[in-house]
């Protein structure tokens, strides 16, 4: 509760509102630009190391008790480009990019755990929280099922249990929050990955690791996907094939999506204060004019 409230205040601070209420003494006088929680965790996905074994999918199903009846060794799922579903939190897609020299490239996808998540800004019931650990977690107990979070997510990640009439909810990767919030805990998918394609750690350290790899091997594209996209995400990717050929959206920009509505959120209170006064003023003028023209006719109603 406290952390989510702080998060909200800090997010407002990002819009240029003084951060005096945010609770960090040092920032009290500064107009703070929220750049994510300090020491937050993340995962670096090195697309070039993924062999498409899908053991991450199996581990995810085990950790989250997902029954999607899919055999992780089944290669036929690569025929179509998949997305997350109510019982699929992570999934590996296969691409045959032009730049890859005919070699398949496998991309594991899941919730990106944005520093300032669009789902958070969308939710009218505060069902989403960005934890200091980096996870964006969802609370089904307060969700009314409007699905605005799904519509707002630039990565098309949240899914919905449409088949349930009485207990529907939004589903997405949890970043194994129950595990990473304990000392030494790492997500199930990272733990099982046999090729080192997934690296769990402090986000800042992961960016350093990614830069070193890009510097050491010129085959890498000089871009860490997720470092700046929509203001930065906890999950980040490096690749030797251009991202747009691997199903990544490259038109997202670096502005955190919640900030796109801050201006409007402040417009309404201004409207609410000024407009009634303005209308009452116009009303009093029209009344007075009528009173002059019709005498007693315009008496108090």
């Amino acid at each position: 509760m406290n952390s989510s409230r702080r998060g909200f205040l800090k997010m407002l601070a990002g819009a240029g509102v003084g951060a005096a209420a945010a609770g960090k003494a040092g920032d009290a006088l500064a107009v703070e630009d929220f750049t994510g929680w300090p020491d937050t965790y993340g995962v670096l996905v090195d697309v070039s190391k993924c062999i498409g074994c899908r053991s991450c999918e199996g581990a995810c199903n085990d950790v989250n008790n997902l029954k999607n009846g899919v055999d992780p060794t089944d290669q036929s799922v690569f025929e179509t480009e998949r997305r997350s579903d109510y019982n699929v939190y992570t999934f590996v897609n296969r691409y045959m990019p032009e730049a890859g020299g005919g070699q398949p490239v496998f991309v594991k996808r899941q919730c990106m755990h944005c520093a300032e998540p669009a789902c958070f800004a969308a939710c009218l019931c505060k069902a989403f929280t960005k934890t200091p650990e980096g996870a964006v977690v969802y609370d089904a107990d307060v969700c009314i099922g409007c699905r605005y979070c799904m519509q707002a997510c630039p990565f098309y990640i949240p899914a919905y249990t449409y088949q349930s009439a009485f207990d529907p909810k939004v589903t997405k990767c949890t970043f194994c929050f129950d595990r990473i919030s304990k000392d030494g805990g790492i997500p199930g998918c990272v733990e099982i990955c046999p090729t080192g394609a997934l690296t769990f750690g402090r986000r800042e350290e992961l960016i350093t690791i990614a830069r070193k790899r890009i510097f050491a091997d010129s085959d890498y594209i000089d871009h860490i996907y997720g470092e700046r996209e929509v203001g930065g995400t906890s999950w980040m990717y490096i690749s030797k094939v251009p991202f747009e050929q691997l199903g990544f959206k490259t038109n997202l920009g670096s502005t955190p999506i919640p900030r796109l509505t801050y201006g409007f959120l402040w417009t309404l209170p201004i409207l609410h204060i000024t407009l009634p006064v303005l209308l009452a003023g116009i009303y009093s003028i029209t009344r007075k004019r009528e009173g002059g023209a019709h005498g007693a006719d315009g008496g108090e109603g």
């Binding site: 800004a121 009218l124 505060k126 109603g301």
Partner: protein, 408 residues
């Protein structure tokens, strides 16, 4: 109606107020009309479908998906429905705040439409929500204050309250509750001002909801100005709908409408002028958005042609037609143009909420038959309720008792 009531003074309250002075047998005989039979058949299949939605869930009854989580129930019932229900606010401002008394005969029908339109939009929303029984949650359990949708919810709740208080005097007149009428009329001005502020707030907030979707809504429709697009177009839509309604009222409830045809034509022309100027503003906002987004080159794509179809065919064309109609003094042309205008608002809300949203995603959403049927059922019930109230309460005419003179 009033004649039957006068000739039978000792008539029961129920017969006088509910059965329009007819006996049970007479009333039920009168219910059998072609309109009632057709709409009755719609309800006969529509109501079980509506119940099926709540029993079987969204998956069984809609074509919504993870990629396209919003469909017809939000696009039509909510985004289009409330956009054309704003006539009450516009006329309220014109009559009470700007002091243009000529439009007073239109105020009650407009307020009734506004009230029913919003009430039905919220009923439509209940179908779409995954957990409709949690509707009060954002207010009572967990408030997401940083969400534009929270503002929308808050405003809809307050606005519906203001509209209810605005329309209740008509019910008090119908049932002869003079004390209640006097009490309600005391807050009249406050509700008009409150309603005007709230309607501007939530109509623009409905557009602002799309500010969160810069990569998901096609760039020709996505613009930082989208809250103002929604606000300005709803004023045009609400007034155009009012023109269509008054045309229908004259045909269907002609015996109740005390207005002369000349007066009706004059008001229609006046409203047409207001819509024309609103549409010019809207057109300017549309052009400005393309210019500031530097999207001119996108106009020469398939999506660009669709955009121009919307803007040229349903904003520019009606604007020109309104001005032609005003020049010629043709109320008839204003009425036909209003149909184009309302269709244009519908096209715009469909484009923003469905067609051009998730435009580059592989999946295309097409509503399932049950979604369409539930929407048609809601419209049918709305028409029944509208007619039921119009036939009883003084909406289209002024109550003859001088006690009910509105002194504003």
């Amino acid at each position: 109606m009033s004649q039957a009531a006068i000739t039978s003074q000792d008539m029961s309250w129920f017969r006088k107020n509910i059965l329009l002075g007819m006996s049970n047998a007479e009333y039920f005989r009168k219910l059998i009309s072609p309109f009632n039979v057709i709409t009755g058949l719609i309800l006969a299949v529509g109501i079980p479908t509506a119940i099926w939605r709540f029993a079987a869930g969204l998956g069984a009854t809609t074509n919504l998906s993870n990629t396209n989580p919003w469909g017809l129930w939000l696009g039509f019932d909510m985004f289009f429905g409330v956009a054309i229900a704003t006539g009450g606010f516009s006329v309220g401002v014109a009559v009470y705040i700007l002091g243009n008394k000529d439009y007073k005969p239109l105020l009650r029908p407009a307020l009734l439409t506004g009230f029913l339109g919003y009430a039905f939009a919220i009923i439509g929303l209940l179908f779409d929500l995954g957990r409709p029984w949690r509707l009060p949650y954002p207010f009572l359990v967990s408030a997401g204050m940083s969400s534009v949708l929270f503002l929308v919810a808050e405003h809809l709740a307050l606005y519906l309250t203001a509209m209810t208080l605005e329309i209740l005097p008509a019910f008090a007149e119908w049932l002869g509750l003079k004390k209640a009428w006097r009490f309600l009329m005391k807050g009249h001005m406050v509700f008009i001002i409150l309603g005007s502020v709230l309607v501007m707030g939530h109509q623009s907030a409905l557009g602002a909801m799309y500010l969160l979707m810069p990569s998901r809504l096609h760039p020709l429709w996505y613009t930082p100005l989208i809250p103002y697009h929604f606000l300005v177009s709803c004023i045009a839509g609400g007034l155009a709908m009012l023109i269509i309604e008054s045309m229908i009222s004259h045909k269907v409830f002609g015996h109740q409408v005390k207005m002369s045809h000349e007066q009706d034509d004059r008001l229609t022309l006046g409203l047409g002028k207001a819509v024309a100027f609103t549409l010019i503003t809207y057109l300017a906002l549309k052009v400005l958005s393309v210019a500031h987004g530097m999207h001119w080159e996108l106009l020469n794509t398939g999506w660009g042609y669709w955009f121009m179809f919307e803007v040229l065919g349903f904003v520019l064309l009606p604007t020109i037609l309104y001005f032609v109609a005003i020049r010629r003094g043709s109320a008839k042309l204003v009425r036909y143009t209003s149909i184009i205008t309302v269709l244009g608002i519908m096209l715009n809300r469909f484009n923003v909420s469905m067609v051009c949203l998730n435009w580059d995603a592989p999946e295309v959403y097409i509503p399932k038959w049950s979604e369409i049927l539930v929407t048609i059922t809601l419209i049918t019930v709305l028409m029944w309720v509208f007619r039921w109230v119009i036939n009883r309460a003084p909406i289209l005419y002024k109550h003859p008792d001088p006690f009910y003179a509105d002194e504003h």
